[in-house]
């Protein structure tokens, strides 16, 4: 009874986490669209944004094609306990690395990420669709950590480090 309740609660937490992560990504997307609203004047920019949003989809289909086996049924407590620590470490490490990387690139090119909106859209759409894909089909917690890390780094960078 207790374990059952425990599992259902964990399941629910994971779902909330899923919705929050997706929500953050959607907010970033809307923010990027509004940020670029003045710049999106020509037909060309619209094409570029559509391209960067569509970019991950064929790749994910290809990955799914190759790795068709399911890992999903393994969503047990054991599996979670085993993967908790590496997944958390990966999350933190990815956030730090991704933020450093963005800072370095901005420093090297002397350009803000906001000026290269297409790149921001590309990172956002690739990581969020991989996240949803991984969550729905594989539930690999380590991959979850990395992808959440990239999304968080992008969100932190856009909301706090861009004056």
């Amino acid at each position: 009874m207790l374990t059952g309740l425990d599992t259902s609660m964990q399941q629910k937490q994971l779902n909330i986490a899923f919705f929050i992560t997706t929500g953050i990504s959607v907010v970033v997307f809307i923010y990027l669209v509004f940020l670029g609203y003045d710049e999106v004047k020509t037909f060309k920019d619209v094409v570029k944004i559509i391209g960067s949003v569509l970019f991950p989809i064929p790749l994910l289909f290809f990955i799914r094609f190759i790795v068709i086996e399911h890992f999903l049924p393994e969503n047990t407590d054991e599996y979670k306990i085993k993967n908790q620590k590496p997944a958390t470490i990966l999350l933190v490490v990815t956030i730090v690395i991704a933020m450093l990387l963005m800072q370095i690139i901005e420093f090297l090119t002397q350009k803000k990420l906001e000026d290269a909106l297409v790149l921001a859209h590309l990172i956002n759409s690739t990581s969020i669709s991989s996240y949803v894909f991984n969550y729905l089909l594989y539930n690999n917690l380590k991959a979850n950590g990395i992808l959440s890390g990239i999304l968080m780094a992008l969100a932190i960078h856009i909301f706090f480090f861009s004056a």
Partner: protein, 159 residues
Amino acid sequence: MNVIKTPKNQTNSGKRELLFTFQTIIVTALLAFTAIAFFFYNQLTVVKGIKVIFAPFLSVVPLLFVLSILRDLRKGFIEGNYTKKQILRFALLTVGITAAFTAITFLLSKINALEILLAGIIAILSTVFFLRSKIKDILGMSIVTGIAEGIIVYMIFLF
């Protein structure tokens, strides 16, 4: 996502076939999108109207001929997993095709008459349908993925 998990095709090869079909649909949509984008952005003109009508026949007729006489070149999708070596090889092939199609899309963007653009796009489309119906294998899938990614990469970075 629900469509991918339809209970009808629960075998792995069935799922793979479905994914392959989706990929070809995506490529078809992307090609149509490319044609429209180039048409509006480059302000193409129709040089000779009659050519627009005949442009598709250039590649559709050979395609139909080849499809009608050729047997299936591949046995279909496998049920089990691919080996690491195969995955690496086909991933590299996909990257190669992506680069090639970025270049081909660039060439398409240089065309300044609608009828030639249409002929080119329909030739690529025919190739895709040929792959779809005769090369039902990871080979076909990686080529189709490469075409899709090549078009998208061109649209993002070079357009």
